[in-house]
Subunit: 395 residues, 2 copies
């Protein structure tokens, strides 16, 4: 890309990977949304947030509307630290940075640890926004395939051992969504979690654990990598987007104090007092565990409806991972280019995300697609899958 602007060296590198843009927003109005990684609209507590905000501004007046000052901001930090402790990963206040959603946290970690020489290990497929973020920094990757037990750590070990033997660069960080992964819905087994941490020590890399969906387990909540981490190898990324409301944009990074301090240097938006104190005022009014139970029962029922519809309407050759939590189901339809199929889905009145967007090498994703059971109603889920079956039959 040629330009009249004096872009920095780093940005010139990023030009090689011009991002796909906001293509997610482009689908027919009224289409059944099996694409959106959004919470169920009925589970977004807009009434409660309205009440919390009114109480906040009555009690604190202008305080939450200044740069700093609301006592509810440290209260939110305390809530997060306490939750981390309950999940087996005690976090001190200096080990926490509240961010604008998980994405800002991922970007800050990338910003601080990556440059054009850095190698990043990623799951294949993985979260597309994370891919976009990393591509702003480096074009050196190690892709680790996924099966029903999450990332294949044996494969990772093989790759790392071979790179070491050949004197090639080892990764600085490994990015993983170990629990109810986006897009596959898979969960890394305990055995592999331990193996991964061993490899991090052995081959000297850091692990970025993106746990955006971790609270949404239908049956069990797997142990956090951070809870199993004895050697300060794990930087944990959390989020309220999937369990309260993404539009508030509140997430966090939890990790070694020294690293968190440096992430803070590069976080130049001066915090978000209004959004953070509103969320804090909302969290005061609920029992978080009961709140999660309610979410989980809704999402589990929706996942069941989706799986039943797939069993009814999909061709014999189709395959999927059974989701045990989170928002997503990953579907493979052998021999079908799901990006090509999308226009037919639009015509039929539903929408999904073609698999290719979750791969560094988009060719690997051609016959996959991501279905989200979180946003739309059970009725629509069934209807959307029925329509998918129909256009596949006609294909």
């Amino acid at each position: 890309m040629k330009s009249k602007f004096p872009y920095s060296k780093e940005v010139q590198l990023a030009f090689k990977h011009e991002p796909p843009g906001r293509w997610m927003a482009k689908f027919p109005q009224g289409a059944i949304r099996l694409n959106s990684g959004y919470p169920d609209p009925r589970l977004v507590p807009s009434e409660e947030i309205k009440g919390a905000m009114a109480r906040l501004l009555e009690e604190e007046k202008d305080l939450p509307l200044h740069y700093i000052g609301s006592p509810r901001i440290p209260q939110l930090e305390k809530f997060i630290c306490q939750r981390m402790a309950e999940r087996g990963a005690p976090t001190a206040n200096e080990e926490l940075l509240v961010t604008s959603g998980a994405c800002q946290a991922i970007d800050l970690v990338a910003r601080v640890l990556l440059d054009e020489e850095a190698v990043v290990a990623i799951e294949s497929p993985t979260y597309m926004e994370a891919l976009e973020i990393f591509q702003n920094y480096t074009d050196k990757y190690i892709s680790i395939p996924i099966d029903e037990n999450g990332m294949k750590t044996e494969k990772l070990e093989e790759i790392l051992a071979e790179r070491k033997r050949k004197g090639e660069a080892l990764p600085r960080i490994l990015y993983t969504i170990p629990t109810f992964q986006n897009p596959t819905g898979t969960t890394l087994s305990l055995e592999r979690r331990k193996h991964l941490l061993k490899l991090a020590e052995q081959f000297d890399f850091l692990i970025m654990e993106d746990d955006a969906y971790g609270e949404l387990g239908f049956a069990e909540k797997p142990q956090l990598l951070k809870a199993l981490d004895a050697g300060e190898r794990v930087i944990y990324i959390g989020s309220f987007s999937k369990v309260v409301a993404p539009g508030m944009r509140i997430g966090w990074a939890a990790g070694p104090k020294e690293l968190i301090e440096v992430l803070g240097w590069f976080k130049k938006d001066l915090g978000h007092p209004f959004a953070q104190s509103t969320l804090s005022a909302y969290l005061e009014t609920i029992d978080f565990d009961s709140h999660l139970k309610k979410l989980v029962s809704v999402y589990e029922a929706k996942a069941r409806v989706m799986v039943e519809a797939l069993e009814e309407f999909m061709p014999e050759s189709a395959a999927w991972f059974m989701p045990s939590g989170g928002y997503f189901l990953w579907l493979q339809i052998p021999g079908v280019d799901t990006a090509e199929l999308l226009s037919k889905a639009h015509e039929a009145g539903f929408v999904y995300v073609p698999g290719r967007f979750f791969f560094l090498d988009q060719q690997e994703g051609l016959e996959f697609l991501r279905l989200s059971f979180s946003y739309t109603s059970e009725e629509n889920i069934r209807e959307g899958i029925r329509l998918l079956g129909q256009i596949l039959d006609a294909n």
Copy 2:
């Protein structure tokens, strides 16, 4: 700084300038705050924002709490574009990026245009957060002194011409707060504005125009650099922090479409639907010009109180620029180290910002201090200045 973390090359550079940290928050409770660049608490429309938010969530339900979807977000963009046009700098939607306050916009521009080889031209003194941001990218600066007519552009021309003659690098960007500058309160004259734009063409650099205070002129609002710009030299940075509420964290960058698009690639917080749609719902309910008139009458009266108190209580040797808008007054007390004096101010019960924090070479700022007339009451302003006179007498 030694560390066990594999920090990127860029971050290792930034370690040279370990930021001063959150020292602003450290002053005795109850002290008269002549330090805070905050709006007057009575002018922060918390009641109105509460009402706007209630209406927003009643009308839109969960929409503003998802990632995208609220129609009030494009409405906010339209409001900003329209305002830019009214101020003589028409801005198309593709030339606008809404950000988390001015700071995120400054950081994004720095991110996209700077690397360790880049030279940045800055006013001396200048906004301390901007200094911190630039120091994350480069340590090459050109400092341009300020007088009562703003940045001395003749001095800038001299420096640039000499650098050119010597074959030294010219700046990629020049950062300026041309109107009611932070910290000096000065305003760049029209003649110098035109001169600056000519220099930008001649020496091929971009101008970052930080206009956070530009709407708060007591008598007149100077023409925007962007309104005078014929050659796409100016990237304009705007903010609602000083005219609505800083805690909402909403600002913007307006500039050439191509650059704005790239800024968007590096803005990885996925927007702020909740805060932006709330602000948008609030702006619907007011007449913005009347709102500004109200603010200006309050700040003008407060500035007058501050100046009268200075005339009454300051020693003969003290000097200051007369503010004609904005939040700040810049005071010089020859022979006094204002950072040393601060502990005495704390004891006496008031607080200001020592001048040194606004300079790259802190030595230059020893006998200056920044007084803010925006936040505290007229009564407190007078009392604070009286106390300053008292500790100076005793010094």
